[in-house]
C-alpha cells in the first residue's frame, strides 16, 4: 500500500470502530458490510484530503469505494482540482 492508502485504511478502521482489524488495499469494505451508508460521505471527504482532489458525488457509486485501492482509482478517474 502507498502511504496515502495506509492513511485511508487507518481512517476506515477508525471510522468503522474496528481499530484492530487488518485490511489491505483490496479488502472489500462496502460489499462486505464493513462500511455503512452514513460513513460513505466521511470516506469521500478523507479521500479528497488525501488526494487533494474534489470528487463529485454524483459520479461515484458505493461500489466505486469498495476497497482502498478502488477509492484511489475512483479519485483519479473522476477527481477534479480543488477550488
Amino acid at each position: 500500500m502507498t502511504e496515502e492508502q495506509k492513511q485511508m485504511a487507518d481512517f476506515v478502521l477508525r471510522r468503522i470502530r474496528k481499530p484492530n482489524l487488518v485490511i489491505d488495499e483490496n479488502t472489500p469494505l462496502v460489499s462486505s458490510g464493513l462500511v455503512d451508508s452514513m460513513a460513505l460521505g466521511d470516506l469521500l471527504l478523507e479521500l479528497e484530503d488525501l488526494t487533494h482532489l474534489r470528487i463529485p458525488p454524483g459520479k461515484v457509486r458505493p461500489k466505486d469505494l469498495d476497497t482502498v485501492a478502488m477509492m484511489f482509482a475512483t479519485a483519479a478517474r473522476v477527481g477534479k482540482p480543488q477550488k
Binding site: 470502530r17 474496528k18 460489499s31 455503512d36 451508508s37 452514513m38 460521505g41 463529485p56
Partner: protein
C-alpha cells in the same frame, strides 16, 4: 378537540392531470442534479410529453383505468414520468423503493414480495438495470406483467391522445406509509383528497409557482418526497431541483450547494438531516454557500428536536440561513401529507416550550418552566392545524384530554384516507368513527401541536411512562458508547407484573466489550441519576450490531427480533 377555524377554497382542478395540463409549458419543472456540471432539466411541457409517451407504453401493455401500476425505478425523471403517465390513463401508480446497497437484501425481498402481492398490480415497471436476483421476489399474478422502461422511449415525439377526464373521486395513486420492518401499508388516495390537501398546504406556506423553487433529496416512495416534492409542485407548477437520496448521503453538503446555486426557497427534511449536514460540512467551506434565498426548511416526519435545528442555524447562520426559515410540520401518508404547519408568516422559528421533566414523565402533563431550568425538557411545536383538520388527544382509556396533557393523537380531515389498500383488518384498527389513530403521542398547547414520540415505543415501568429517546440520550452520552447507536425497549416482566427497561447499545470498538461490566455499571448509574428508574438488562454489542432502517437510523423492531434470536431467554410475548 381542536379544529381549524378557516375553510379553504375549493380546488381548481378536476384531477391531478388536469392540473399538470394547465402548467405553463416553458417553465422548468424537474432539475435532476447529479453533480455541479451534470444536471438534466425538463420543463412542464417536456415532462407532459414524456409522461404521455409513458402512458402510451403502459396502455400498450393492456393497463386500464383503476389498474395498479407498480414503479420500481431509480429516483429520476423517467420514474416520475412513468408515474404521471399511469395517472393520465386513470391507472393507479405506486412507487416502491429501488434496491440499493443500503437496504438489507433479505428485508427488501420480503417487503417487495408482500407489497407487490397486496397491490395485485397489472404492471410492474422496472428499469433496464433492475437486478435479476430481485426479480424473483416481485410477485406477479396471472394477469400481471413486467415492463422494463428504457430511456429511449422517453426521447421520441408523441402525438398520443390520452383521455384524462376522469372524476376527482377516482383513486389517483397509492403511497406507502413509512415502515422500517414488516410490510408497508398501502394508502390509496383520490385525486380530490390530494387536491384538497395541496390547497391547504399551498395556502399555509404561501407557495407561488412563479417565485418558489423546491429542493429535495427525499425518496419518491415516501410521502414527504412524493407529495411535497413531486405532486404538489406538479399541481401548483413549482420548479423542483432534486438529487437522489444516495447522492445526498454520499455528500450531504451537496444540499447546501444546490440550495445556494439554484436559489431554492423551500425544502422538507427529516430531523436528522439538520445535524447530519451540519456535522459533515467543514467549517471552512460554509462561507461559499449563500442560503439567503431559503424561506422555509421544514422539519418533518420525525419528532422535531430543537437542538438539531439550533445546530443547523449555528452552522449556517453566517451563510445567510435565517433562523425564521427553520420551520416544522406534522405529516403522515394517511392524511396525504401534512396535518399541521408552523406559521411561516410570523417571522420566527416554531414555538418552543420548556416543561418540568418529572411532571411530563410521571403525570403526562406539560407544566411550563423557565427556559433551560434544571430538570426541564424542551419541546418544539409542529405548528397549527391545516384548514378543515381536527385533532384529539386521548388517554389510554380514550378520554379526550385537555390542553397540556400528553396522549395519543387522533386526526380527522377532508383529505384523510379511507383505508389501507386490501387490508380491512388494519383499516378497522386505524380508523374509528372517522378518526385516524396515528399511534403518535403529543399534546396541544395554545392551538399548536407538539409531537413527542410513538405510543407503541413508550416504556411503562410501574405505571410510569418513559420515553425511549430520553434513556437513549443518557446511554449515548457514555464515552464507550457510539452516539446514536442505542435502542431502549420496554419488555414485559411477568414476575414483576410490569415492563422493565432493556437497553441495546453499541460500544465504540470491540475491545471495549472486555470492560462490559464496568461500562454497564456506569450506564445503570446514569439512568438512575437521570430518570430515577433502574434499567433491567443492558446488552452491550459490537459496532454495527444494531439493525438500521433505510434512513440509517436504529430500527427498533428489527433489532428486537435480532436480540431475540441471539438471546432466546427473551420471551416472544414480551
Amino acid at each position: 378537540m381542536r379544529k381549524h377555524p378557516l375553510q379553504c377554497r375549493v380546488p381548481r382542478y378536476l384531477n391531478l392531470i388536469d392540473a399538470l395540463n394547465a402548467a405553463p409549458g416553458e417553465r422548468p419543472f424537474i432539475t435532476h442534479w447529479i453533480s455541479e456540471d451534470e444536471q438534466e432539466t425538463v420543463t412542464f411541457g417536456e415532462f407532459r410529453d414524456r409522461a404521455r409517451i409513458q402512458a402510451e407504453a403502459i396502455r400498450a401493455k393492456g393497463v386500464n383505468r383503476g389498474d395498479r401500476v407498480v414503479i420500481i425505478m431509480p429516483q429520476g425523471i423517467p420514474a416520475m414520468t412513468a408515474f404521471a403517465g399511469a395517472m393520465m390513463l386513470g391507472a393507479v401508480p405506486a412507487f416502491l423503493a429501488y434496491p440499493n446497497y443500503k437496504v438489507e437484501p433479505a428485508k427488501y425481498r420480503l417487503g417487495l414480495a408482500g407489497v407487490t402481492a397486496n397491490l395485485r398490480a397489472k404492471l410492474v415497471v422496472i428499469d433496464e438495470e433492475f437486478p435479476d436476483d430481485m426479480l424473483g421476489h416481485v410477485s406477479l399474478g396471472d394477469d400481471s406483467m413486467l415492463h422494463r422502461a428504457g430511456n429511449a422511449e422517453a426521447t421520441h415525439e408523441t402525438d398520443a391522445i390520452v383521455d384524462s377526464s376522469f372524476s376527482g373521486d377516482c383513486v389517483a395513486f397509492i403511497q406507502h406509509s413509512a415502515g422500517t420492518t414488516g410490510l408497508q401499508k398501502g394508502v390509496a388516495l383520490s385525486h380530490a383528497a390530494v387536491l384538497r390537501q395541496l390547497e391547504h398546504l399551498v395556502q399555509a406556506l404561501q407557495i407561488d409557482g412563479a417565485m418558489d423553487r423546491i429542493y429535495s433529496w427525499l425518496p419518491l416512495y415516501h410521502d414527504m418526497g412524493l407529495i411535497a416534492c413531486f405532486v404538489m409542485p406538479m399541481v401548483y407548477h413549482v420548479p423542483v431541483v432534486m438529487q437522489s437520496p444516495l447522492d445526498w448521503v454520499m455528500r450531504p453538503e451537496s444540499m447546501l450547494q444546490i440550495l445556494s446555486d439554484h436559489k431554492c426557497t423551500l425544502a422538507w427534511l427529516p430531523n436528522f438531516t439538520f445535524q447530519f449536514v451540519s456535522r459533515r460540512t467543514r467549517p471552512n467551506r460554509r462561507a461559499q454557500y449563500d442560503l439567503s434565498s431559503v424561506r422555509a426548511l421544514i422539519n418533518c416526519s420525525e419528532p422535531v428536536r430543537a437542538s438539531s435545528m439550533r445546530e443547523f442555524q449555528d452552522a449556517f447562520g453566517a451563510s445567510g440561513m435565517k433562523a425564521s426559515a427553520l420551520q416544522s410540520s406534522y405529516a403522515m401518508a394517511e392524511n396525504v401529507f401534512a396535518v399541521t404547519q408552523s406559521d411561516i408568516s410570523r417571522g420566527s422559528a416554531p414555538s418552543q416550550i420548556w416543561a418540568d421533566f418529572n411532571q411530563f414523565r410521571s403525570t403526562h402533563r406539560i407544566v411550563p418552566v423557565a427556559e433551560g431550568s434544571a430538570g426541564s425538557i424542551c419541546f418544539t411545536s409542529s405548528g397549527r392545524l391545516l384548514p378543515n383538520h381536527e385533532i384529539r388527544i386521548v388517554s389510554d382509556a380514550d378520554s379526550i384530554l385537555r390542553d397540556g396533557m400528553v396522549g395519543e393523537i387522533l386526526i380527522k380531515s377532508d383529505c384523510l384516507f379511507e383505508g389501507y389498500y386490501n387490508r380491512p383488518d388494519l383499516t378497522a384498527k386505524a380508523l374509528v368513527d372517522g378518526w385516524y389513530r396515528t399511534g403518535d403521542l403529543g399534546f396541544c398547547l395554545n392551538e399548536e401541536i407538539y409531537v413527542v414520540g410513538r405510543a407503541k415505543d413508550l416504556i411503562i415501568v410501574g405505571g410510569e411512562n418513559l420515553y425511549p429517546q430520553d434513556i437513549e440520550e443518557i446511554v449515548s452520552s457514555h464515552s464507550a458508547i457510539h452516539d446514536g447507536r442505542v435502542i431502549a425497549l420496554g419488555m414485559d416482566n411477568p414476575d414483576l407484573g410490569t415492563q422493565e427497561i432493556v437497553v441495546v447499545a453499541e460500544v465504540e470498538n470491540e475491545e471495549l466489550l472486555a470492560k462490559s461490566h464496568e461500562i454497564e455499571r456506569e450506564i445503570r448509574s446514569s439512568i438512575v441519576a437521570g430518570l430515577g428508574v433502574a434499567a433491567g438488562t443492558i446488552f452491550l454489542k459490537p459496532p454495527k450490531w444494531i439493525v438500521k432502517s433505510t434512513a440509517g437510523k436504529p430500527a427498533r423492531s428489527a433489532t428486537l427480533e435480532k436480540l431475540r434470536k441471539e438471546h432466546p431467554e427473551i420471551k416472544k410475548e414480551s
